[in-house]
Symmetry: C2
Subunit: 206 residues, 2 copies
Protein backbone atom coordinates (compact mmCIF):
# COMPACT_ATOMS: atom_id res chain seq x y z
CA UNK A 1 0.00 0.00 0.00
CA UNK A 2 2.65 2.51 -1.02
CA UNK A 3 1.67 6.03 -2.02
CA UNK A 4 -0.88 6.35 0.75
CA UNK A 5 -0.39 9.51 2.80
CA UNK A 6 -3.50 9.57 4.93
CA UNK A 7 -5.61 7.14 6.90
CA UNK A 8 -9.17 7.22 8.13
CA UNK A 9 -9.36 4.75 10.98
CA UNK A 10 -12.56 3.66 12.65
CA UNK A 11 -12.14 2.05 16.05
CA UNK A 12 -15.69 0.74 16.40
CA UNK A 13 -17.91 3.67 15.90
CA UNK A 14 -15.67 6.68 16.54
CA UNK A 15 -15.89 7.90 12.98
CA UNK A 16 -19.49 6.91 12.58
CA UNK A 17 -20.84 9.28 15.19
CA UNK A 18 -21.19 12.05 12.70
CA UNK A 19 -23.54 14.24 14.67
CA UNK A 20 -21.75 17.44 13.75
CA UNK A 21 -22.43 16.80 10.06
CA UNK A 22 -26.01 15.77 10.70
CA UNK A 23 -26.69 18.87 12.79
CA UNK A 24 -25.12 21.09 10.11
CA UNK A 25 -27.35 19.45 7.49
CA UNK A 26 -30.46 20.10 9.59
CA UNK A 27 -29.54 23.76 10.13
CA UNK A 28 -28.84 24.32 6.44
CA UNK A 29 -31.59 22.32 4.75
CA UNK A 30 -34.33 22.39 7.39
CA UNK A 31 -34.06 25.75 9.21
CA UNK A 32 -36.77 26.11 11.84
CA UNK A 33 -38.01 22.58 11.24
CA UNK A 34 -39.64 20.54 14.00
CA UNK A 35 -37.29 17.57 14.39
CA UNK A 36 -38.13 14.28 16.09
CA UNK A 37 -34.84 12.79 17.25
CA UNK A 38 -34.49 9.12 18.10
CA UNK A 39 -31.15 8.79 19.89
CA UNK A 40 -29.38 7.32 22.91
CA UNK A 41 -27.00 9.67 24.66
CA UNK A 42 -26.67 13.40 25.18
CA UNK A 43 -26.38 15.53 22.05
CA UNK A 44 -27.25 18.91 23.53
CA UNK A 45 -23.92 20.46 22.53
CA UNK A 46 -24.29 19.55 18.85
CA UNK A 47 -27.99 20.29 18.58
CA UNK A 48 -27.89 24.05 19.19
CA UNK A 49 -30.34 25.91 16.95
CA UNK A 50 -32.32 22.78 16.12
CA UNK A 51 -35.96 22.63 17.24
CA UNK A 52 -36.32 19.18 18.79
CA UNK A 53 -39.83 18.09 19.76
CA UNK A 54 -40.36 16.21 23.02
CA UNK A 55 -42.60 13.27 23.91
CA UNK A 56 -45.58 15.54 24.67
CA UNK A 57 -45.48 17.24 21.24
CA UNK A 58 -48.60 16.50 19.26
CA UNK A 59 -48.20 18.58 16.09
CA UNK A 60 -46.64 18.10 12.67
CA UNK A 61 -43.05 16.81 12.62
CA UNK A 62 -40.97 17.98 9.64
CA UNK A 63 -37.94 15.74 10.03
CA UNK A 64 -37.39 12.35 11.68
CA UNK A 65 -33.73 11.92 12.64
CA UNK A 66 -32.50 8.44 13.59
CA UNK A 67 -29.35 8.59 15.69
CA UNK A 68 -27.38 6.19 17.85
CA UNK A 69 -29.33 3.06 18.74
CA UNK A 70 -29.81 2.09 22.37
CA UNK A 71 -32.33 1.35 25.10
CA UNK A 72 -34.68 4.18 24.13
CA UNK A 73 -35.27 2.62 20.70
CA UNK A 74 -38.57 1.18 21.93
CA UNK A 75 -41.53 -0.11 19.94
CA UNK A 76 -43.47 2.99 21.03
CA UNK A 77 -40.75 5.41 19.89
CA UNK A 78 -40.14 3.56 16.63
CA UNK A 79 -43.87 3.69 15.89
CA UNK A 80 -43.92 7.39 16.68
CA UNK A 81 -41.14 7.94 14.14
CA UNK A 82 -42.85 5.61 11.66
CA UNK A 83 -46.15 7.51 11.97
CA UNK A 84 -44.48 10.83 11.22
CA UNK A 85 -42.68 9.33 8.22
CA UNK A 86 -46.02 8.12 6.84
CA UNK A 87 -47.42 11.61 7.44
CA UNK A 88 -44.71 13.12 5.22
CA UNK A 89 -41.75 13.89 7.50
CA UNK A 90 -38.29 13.86 5.87
CA UNK A 91 -36.15 10.86 6.88
CA UNK A 92 -32.59 11.55 8.05
CA UNK A 93 -30.18 9.02 9.55
CA UNK A 94 -26.90 9.68 11.32
CA UNK A 95 -25.25 6.61 9.82
CA UNK A 96 -26.11 3.12 8.64
CA UNK A 97 -23.82 0.90 10.70
CA UNK A 98 -25.71 -2.31 11.39
CA UNK A 99 -24.02 -3.42 14.61
CA UNK A 100 -21.19 -2.79 17.02
CA UNK A 101 -19.34 -4.73 19.68
CA UNK A 102 -20.06 -3.84 23.31
CA UNK A 103 -18.87 -5.32 26.61
CA UNK A 104 -21.95 -7.56 26.61
CA UNK A 105 -21.59 -8.71 23.00
CA UNK A 106 -22.69 -7.56 19.57
CA UNK A 107 -25.47 -5.00 19.61
CA UNK A 108 -27.77 -3.74 16.88
CA UNK A 109 -26.83 -0.26 15.73
CA UNK A 110 -28.69 2.54 13.97
CA UNK A 111 -28.56 0.88 10.54
CA UNK A 112 -30.70 -2.07 11.65
CA UNK A 113 -33.47 0.27 12.80
CA UNK A 114 -33.05 2.38 9.67
CA UNK A 115 -33.60 -0.82 7.64
CA UNK A 116 -36.81 -1.54 9.61
CA UNK A 117 -38.22 1.97 9.08
CA UNK A 118 -37.02 2.09 5.48
CA UNK A 119 -38.68 -1.16 4.48
CA UNK A 120 -41.93 -0.42 6.36
CA UNK A 121 -42.27 3.16 5.09
CA UNK A 122 -40.80 2.70 1.62
CA UNK A 123 -38.70 5.82 2.21
CA UNK A 124 -34.93 6.12 1.78
CA UNK A 125 -33.23 8.36 4.36
CA UNK A 126 -30.55 10.95 3.81
CA UNK A 127 -27.60 9.26 5.55
CA UNK A 128 -24.86 11.43 7.02
CA UNK A 129 -22.23 9.02 8.18
CA UNK A 130 -20.85 5.91 6.56
CA UNK A 131 -21.53 4.58 4.00
CA UNK A 132 -22.53 7.89 2.38
CA UNK A 133 -20.18 9.31 -0.24
CA UNK A 134 -20.29 12.72 1.46
CA UNK A 135 -18.86 11.20 4.59
CA UNK A 136 -15.72 9.88 2.91
CA UNK A 137 -15.32 13.03 0.82
CA UNK A 138 -15.41 15.10 4.02
CA UNK A 139 -12.82 12.87 5.69
CA UNK A 140 -10.49 13.07 2.69
CA UNK A 141 -10.91 16.85 2.50
CA UNK A 142 -10.15 17.18 6.23
CA UNK A 143 -6.83 15.44 5.57
CA UNK A 144 -6.11 17.88 2.73
CA UNK A 145 -5.57 14.99 0.32
CA UNK A 146 -7.25 13.34 -2.64
CA UNK A 147 -9.13 10.06 -2.24
CA UNK A 148 -6.48 7.96 -3.98
CA UNK A 149 -3.96 9.02 -1.31
CA UNK A 150 -6.08 7.90 1.61
CA UNK A 151 -6.92 4.48 3.05
CA UNK A 152 -9.95 3.70 5.16
CA UNK A 153 -9.19 1.18 7.91
CA UNK A 154 -12.10 -0.45 9.72
CA UNK A 155 -13.89 -3.57 10.89
CA UNK A 156 -17.12 -3.24 8.91
CA UNK A 157 -16.66 -4.74 5.46
CA UNK A 158 -19.59 -2.95 3.80
CA UNK A 159 -19.76 0.42 5.57
CA UNK A 160 -16.05 0.99 6.23
CA UNK A 161 -14.15 -0.82 3.52
CA UNK A 162 -16.23 -1.36 0.39
CA UNK A 163 -18.05 1.96 0.68
CA UNK A 164 -14.66 3.73 0.92
CA UNK A 165 -13.35 1.78 -2.08
CA UNK A 166 -16.34 2.93 -4.13
CA UNK A 167 -15.29 6.50 -3.28
CA UNK A 168 -11.76 5.93 -4.56
CA UNK A 169 -10.03 5.28 -1.22
CA UNK A 170 -7.96 2.21 -0.45
CA UNK A 171 -9.92 -0.18 1.81
CA UNK A 172 -8.33 -2.10 4.69
CA UNK A 173 -10.41 -4.58 6.69
CA UNK A 174 -9.23 -5.32 10.23
CA UNK A 175 -10.10 -8.64 11.88
CA UNK A 176 -10.95 -7.01 15.23
CA UNK A 177 -13.98 -5.32 16.78
CA UNK A 178 -17.10 -6.36 14.98
CA UNK A 179 -15.30 -8.32 12.26
CA UNK A 180 -16.90 -11.68 11.50
CA UNK A 181 -15.59 -14.14 8.85
CA UNK A 182 -19.13 -14.77 7.56
CA UNK A 183 -19.57 -11.07 6.82
CA UNK A 184 -16.44 -11.13 4.65
CA UNK A 185 -17.59 -14.29 2.85
CA UNK A 186 -20.94 -12.86 1.81
CA UNK A 187 -19.76 -9.28 1.21
CA UNK A 188 -20.57 -7.45 -2.03
CA UNK A 189 -16.86 -7.05 -2.88
CA UNK A 190 -13.29 -7.65 -1.70
CA UNK A 191 -11.13 -5.38 0.47
CA UNK A 192 -7.80 -4.13 -0.93
CA UNK A 193 -6.17 -5.52 2.24
CA UNK A 194 -7.19 -7.66 5.21
CA UNK A 195 -5.07 -7.44 8.39
CA UNK A 196 -5.30 -9.01 11.85
CA UNK A 197 -4.92 -5.81 13.85
CA UNK A 198 -4.41 -2.10 13.56
CA UNK A 199 -0.75 -2.69 14.47
CA UNK A 200 -0.19 -4.09 10.97
CA UNK A 201 -1.41 -0.97 9.22
CA UNK A 202 1.83 1.08 9.37
CA UNK A 203 3.82 -1.62 7.59
CA UNK A 204 1.29 -1.58 4.76
CA UNK A 205 2.01 2.05 4.08
CA UNK A 206 5.71 2.28 3.32
CA UNK B 1 -63.36 -12.02 -11.86
CA UNK B 2 -65.55 -14.88 -13.03
CA UNK B 3 -64.54 -18.48 -12.38
CA UNK B 4 -63.35 -17.79 -8.86
CA UNK B 5 -64.87 -20.16 -6.33
CA UNK B 6 -62.89 -19.37 -3.21
CA UNK B 7 -61.58 -16.30 -1.41
CA UNK B 8 -58.83 -15.80 1.11
CA UNK B 9 -59.63 -12.54 2.87
CA UNK B 10 -57.30 -10.79 5.28
CA UNK B 11 -58.96 -8.25 7.54
CA UNK B 12 -55.79 -6.69 8.89
CA UNK B 13 -53.79 -9.49 10.30
CA UNK B 14 -56.30 -12.29 10.82
CA UNK B 15 -54.70 -14.53 8.23
CA UNK B 16 -51.19 -13.43 9.06
CA UNK B 17 -51.17 -14.84 12.59
CA UNK B 18 -50.02 -18.23 11.42
CA UNK B 19 -48.81 -19.53 14.76
CA UNK B 20 -50.28 -22.96 14.22
CA UNK B 21 -48.13 -23.46 11.12
CA UNK B 22 -45.05 -22.04 12.81
CA UNK B 23 -45.49 -24.29 15.85
CA UNK B 24 -45.99 -27.32 13.58
CA UNK B 25 -42.78 -26.42 11.73
CA UNK B 26 -40.83 -26.19 15.00
CA UNK B 27 -42.14 -29.56 16.21
CA UNK B 28 -41.34 -31.27 12.92
CA UNK B 29 -38.00 -29.71 11.97
CA UNK B 30 -36.55 -28.79 15.38
CA UNK B 31 -37.78 -31.43 17.86
CA UNK B 32 -36.41 -30.79 21.34
CA UNK B 33 -34.77 -27.54 20.24
CA UNK B 34 -34.28 -24.65 22.65
CA UNK B 35 -36.38 -21.87 21.11
CA UNK B 36 -36.07 -18.18 21.91
CA UNK B 37 -39.43 -16.63 21.11
CA UNK B 38 -39.87 -12.91 20.58
CA UNK B 39 -43.61 -12.28 20.66
CA UNK B 40 -46.36 -10.09 22.07
CA UNK B 41 -49.41 -11.92 23.34
CA UNK B 42 -50.19 -15.33 24.79
CA UNK B 43 -49.32 -18.33 22.66
CA UNK B 44 -49.36 -21.01 25.33
CA UNK B 45 -52.09 -23.03 23.56
CA UNK B 46 -50.18 -23.25 20.29
CA UNK B 47 -46.76 -23.80 21.80
CA UNK B 48 -47.33 -27.18 23.42
CA UNK B 49 -44.33 -29.47 23.06
CA UNK B 50 -41.97 -26.63 22.19
CA UNK B 51 -39.11 -25.87 24.58
CA UNK B 52 -39.17 -22.10 25.00
CA UNK B 53 -36.29 -20.54 26.92
CA UNK B 54 -37.02 -17.75 29.37
CA UNK B 55 -35.13 -14.54 30.17
CA UNK B 56 -32.89 -16.25 32.70
CA UNK B 57 -31.69 -18.90 30.25
CA UNK B 58 -28.00 -18.61 29.58
CA UNK B 59 -27.20 -21.57 27.33
CA UNK B 60 -27.19 -22.28 23.62
CA UNK B 61 -30.34 -21.31 21.71
CA UNK B 62 -31.12 -23.47 18.67
CA UNK B 63 -33.89 -21.43 17.06
CA UNK B 64 -34.81 -17.74 17.22
CA UNK B 65 -38.52 -17.30 16.42
CA UNK B 66 -39.78 -13.78 15.67
CA UNK B 67 -43.52 -13.49 16.25
CA UNK B 68 -46.03 -10.68 16.56
CA UNK B 69 -44.40 -7.30 17.17
CA UNK B 70 -45.38 -5.23 20.19
CA UNK B 71 -44.16 -3.55 23.33
CA UNK B 72 -41.80 -6.35 24.30
CA UNK B 73 -39.77 -5.89 21.13
CA UNK B 74 -37.17 -3.92 23.09
CA UNK B 75 -33.58 -3.12 22.18
CA UNK B 76 -32.46 -5.59 24.86
CA UNK B 77 -34.64 -8.42 23.53
CA UNK B 78 -33.74 -7.72 19.90
CA UNK B 79 -30.05 -7.81 20.82
CA UNK B 80 -30.58 -11.07 22.65
CA UNK B 81 -32.13 -12.56 19.51
CA UNK B 82 -29.38 -10.99 17.36
CA UNK B 83 -26.63 -12.48 19.55
CA UNK B 84 -28.08 -15.98 19.25
CA UNK B 85 -28.39 -15.60 15.47
CA UNK B 86 -24.71 -14.65 15.28
CA UNK B 87 -23.91 -17.70 17.43
CA UNK B 88 -25.57 -19.98 14.90
CA UNK B 89 -29.25 -20.21 15.88
CA UNK B 90 -31.73 -20.91 13.06
CA UNK B 91 -33.88 -17.89 12.14
CA UNK B 92 -37.66 -18.44 11.90
CA UNK B 93 -40.30 -15.72 11.43
CA UNK B 94 -44.04 -16.03 11.83
CA UNK B 95 -44.74 -13.71 8.92
CA UNK B 96 -43.26 -10.70 7.19
CA UNK B 97 -46.03 -8.10 7.34
CA UNK B 98 -44.35 -4.72 7.72
CA UNK B 99 -47.12 -2.79 9.45
CA UNK B 100 -50.74 -2.84 10.55
CA UNK B 101 -53.37 -0.29 11.48
CA UNK B 102 -54.25 0.02 15.16
CA UNK B 103 -56.58 2.37 17.07
CA UNK B 104 -53.63 4.68 17.65
CA UNK B 105 -52.42 4.64 14.04
CA UNK B 106 -50.07 2.59 11.90
CA UNK B 107 -47.73 0.34 13.85
CA UNK B 108 -44.62 -1.53 12.83
CA UNK B 109 -45.24 -5.25 12.54
CA UNK B 110 -43.01 -8.33 12.64
CA UNK B 111 -41.64 -7.81 9.13
CA UNK B 112 -39.93 -4.53 10.05
CA UNK B 113 -38.02 -6.21 12.88
CA UNK B 114 -37.27 -9.21 10.67
CA UNK B 115 -35.75 -6.75 8.16
CA UNK B 116 -33.57 -5.25 10.92
CA UNK B 117 -32.29 -8.64 12.12
CA UNK B 118 -31.94 -9.95 8.59
CA UNK B 119 -29.81 -7.05 7.41
CA UNK B 120 -27.65 -6.97 10.56
CA UNK B 121 -27.07 -10.74 10.71
CA UNK B 122 -26.96 -11.46 6.98
CA UNK B 123 -29.33 -14.38 7.59
CA UNK B 124 -32.61 -15.03 5.79
CA UNK B 125 -35.37 -16.49 7.99
CA UNK B 126 -37.77 -19.30 7.24
CA UNK B 127 -41.04 -17.36 7.01
CA UNK B 128 -44.28 -19.14 7.84
CA UNK B 129 -47.01 -16.68 7.05
CA UNK B 130 -47.42 -14.33 4.14
CA UNK B 131 -45.70 -13.82 1.78
CA UNK B 132 -44.36 -17.39 1.81
CA UNK B 133 -45.55 -19.71 -0.94
CA UNK B 134 -46.40 -22.42 1.63
CA UNK B 135 -48.84 -20.09 3.27
CA UNK B 136 -50.94 -19.56 0.14
CA UNK B 137 -50.70 -23.22 -0.84
CA UNK B 138 -52.07 -24.18 2.59
CA UNK B 139 -54.93 -21.70 2.28
CA UNK B 140 -55.86 -22.97 -1.17
CA UNK B 141 -55.69 -26.59 0.00
CA UNK B 142 -57.90 -25.77 3.01
CA UNK B 143 -60.54 -24.53 0.56
CA UNK B 144 -60.23 -27.77 -1.42
CA UNK B 145 -59.55 -25.82 -4.62
CA UNK B 146 -56.69 -25.08 -7.00
CA UNK B 147 -54.89 -21.73 -6.92
CA UNK B 148 -56.46 -20.47 -10.14
CA UNK B 149 -59.92 -20.79 -8.54
CA UNK B 150 -59.07 -18.66 -5.51
CA UNK B 151 -58.62 -14.93 -5.02
CA UNK B 152 -56.65 -13.34 -2.21
CA UNK B 153 -58.28 -10.15 -0.94
CA UNK B 154 -56.23 -7.87 1.30
CA UNK B 155 -54.85 -4.43 2.05
CA UNK B 156 -51.13 -5.17 1.78
CA UNK B 157 -50.04 -4.85 -1.83
CA UNK B 158 -46.83 -6.87 -1.50
CA UNK B 159 -47.64 -9.51 1.13
CA UNK B 160 -51.32 -10.08 0.36
CA UNK B 161 -51.83 -9.32 -3.30
CA UNK B 162 -48.62 -9.66 -5.30
CA UNK B 163 -47.31 -12.61 -3.28
CA UNK B 164 -50.64 -14.42 -3.91
CA UNK B 165 -50.48 -13.58 -7.62
CA UNK B 166 -47.01 -15.13 -7.81
CA UNK B 167 -48.59 -18.32 -6.40
CA UNK B 168 -51.25 -18.40 -9.12
CA UNK B 169 -54.13 -16.84 -7.15
CA UNK B 170 -56.09 -13.82 -8.31
CA UNK B 171 -55.04 -10.72 -6.30
CA UNK B 172 -57.52 -8.09 -5.08
CA UNK B 173 -56.24 -4.99 -3.29
CA UNK B 174 -58.71 -3.26 -0.95
CA UNK B 175 -58.34 0.45 -0.21
CA UNK B 176 -59.04 0.01 3.52
CA UNK B 177 -57.04 -0.94 6.59
CA UNK B 178 -53.39 -0.30 6.02
CA UNK B 179 -53.78 0.60 2.33
CA UNK B 180 -51.79 3.65 1.27
CA UNK B 181 -51.71 5.07 -2.29
CA UNK B 182 -47.91 5.48 -2.15
CA UNK B 183 -47.48 1.77 -1.46
CA UNK B 184 -49.45 0.96 -4.62
CA UNK B 185 -47.44 3.46 -6.69
CA UNK B 186 -44.07 1.99 -5.77
CA UNK B 187 -45.15 -1.67 -5.65
CA UNK B 188 -43.24 -4.35 -7.53
CA UNK B 189 -46.30 -5.24 -9.65
CA UNK B 190 -49.99 -4.53 -10.27
CA UNK B 191 -53.02 -6.16 -8.59
CA UNK B 192 -55.56 -7.96 -10.75
CA UNK B 193 -58.24 -5.76 -9.12
CA UNK B 194 -58.35 -2.74 -6.82
CA UNK B 195 -61.57 -2.08 -4.88
CA UNK B 196 -62.65 0.50 -2.31
CA UNK B 197 -64.06 -1.93 0.26
CA UNK B 198 -64.68 -5.59 0.96
CA UNK B 199 -68.33 -4.94 0.06
CA UNK B 200 -67.33 -4.74 -3.61
CA UNK B 201 -65.76 -8.16 -3.67
CA UNK B 202 -68.93 -10.24 -4.22
CA UNK B 203 -69.83 -8.35 -7.39
CA UNK B 204 -66.38 -9.10 -8.80
CA UNK B 205 -67.03 -12.82 -8.56
CA UNK B 206 -70.13 -13.42 -10.64
Amino acid sequence: MSQVDGLLIDIDGVLSVSWVATAAHLRRHHPGAKCLLLNSGDLSEDMEGIDLVDHAYNGVVDVVVVGGAGLNFTHVELNRAFGHLLDGATFVAMHRNLCWRTASGMELDTGAYVAALEEASGLTPVVHGKPSEDFFATGVAELGLTANRVAMVGGDIENDVLAAQRCGLRGVLVRTGKFRPQALDRASGRPDHVVDSFAEVPELID
